[in-house]
Symmetry: C2
Subunit: 106 residues, 2 copies
């Protein structure tokens, strides 16, 4: 997939990955993999950015003798997903504009 196109989906996709259940880095990557692949360096950059923007909170918890950072979505994060729904309504006509077959003669 085109990198630029991916950019617009990454943040919201990460938020969606923790929407129903708190999760941690490695798990988020696994859950997103079927839809959108991203590297660890990209994910941690995004998580930090979303935390700064108050779209998620972080809590450290021990698991199997090792620390894990669990990410929890906030109201602002949920609102961000709703904004994406609105953006989607604008994207559909754009898709039509781009893929329309016009003045194509037999």
């Amino acid at each position: 997939m085109d990198i630029q196109l991916k950019r617009g989906l990454l943040d919201v996709c990460v938020l969606a990955a923790i929407k129903n259940e708190d999760s941690y880095g490695y798990q988020i990557i696994k859950d997103m993999k079927p839809y959108l692949e991203l590297s660890e360096s990209t994910l941690y950059t995004i998580l930090k950015r979303l935390e700064t923007a108050d779209m998620l909170t972080v809590r450290s918890a021990e698991h199997g003798g090792r620390l894990r950072k669990y990410y929890h979505i906030t109201g602002k994060g949920l609102a961000r997903i709703e904004e994406f729904r609105d953006d989607w309504k604008e994207i559909l006509p754009i898709y039509q504009f781009i893929t329309r077959e016009e003045a194509e003669h037999e």
Copy 2:
């Protein structure tokens, strides 16, 4: 609309604007306006980029005593639009993933 989301659509949208008919800067902005607004500085950056990538060719023509630069899409540019169609097939499941309502209890 979210800037990041816009980024992924701009290039292809400009190509779509000249797909059926050669066009020039000011006209492209007008044609795209109902779908996606962009400033002149952004458009000329994009046109230059698409030219470098051989996705369009440029020709200067006089119009009303003034020079206009007309942009013409190439085979590579048309292929870029086809790629977008393919990307779209990947985007749809991502949209589902983001907006799914799961484990929402009454």
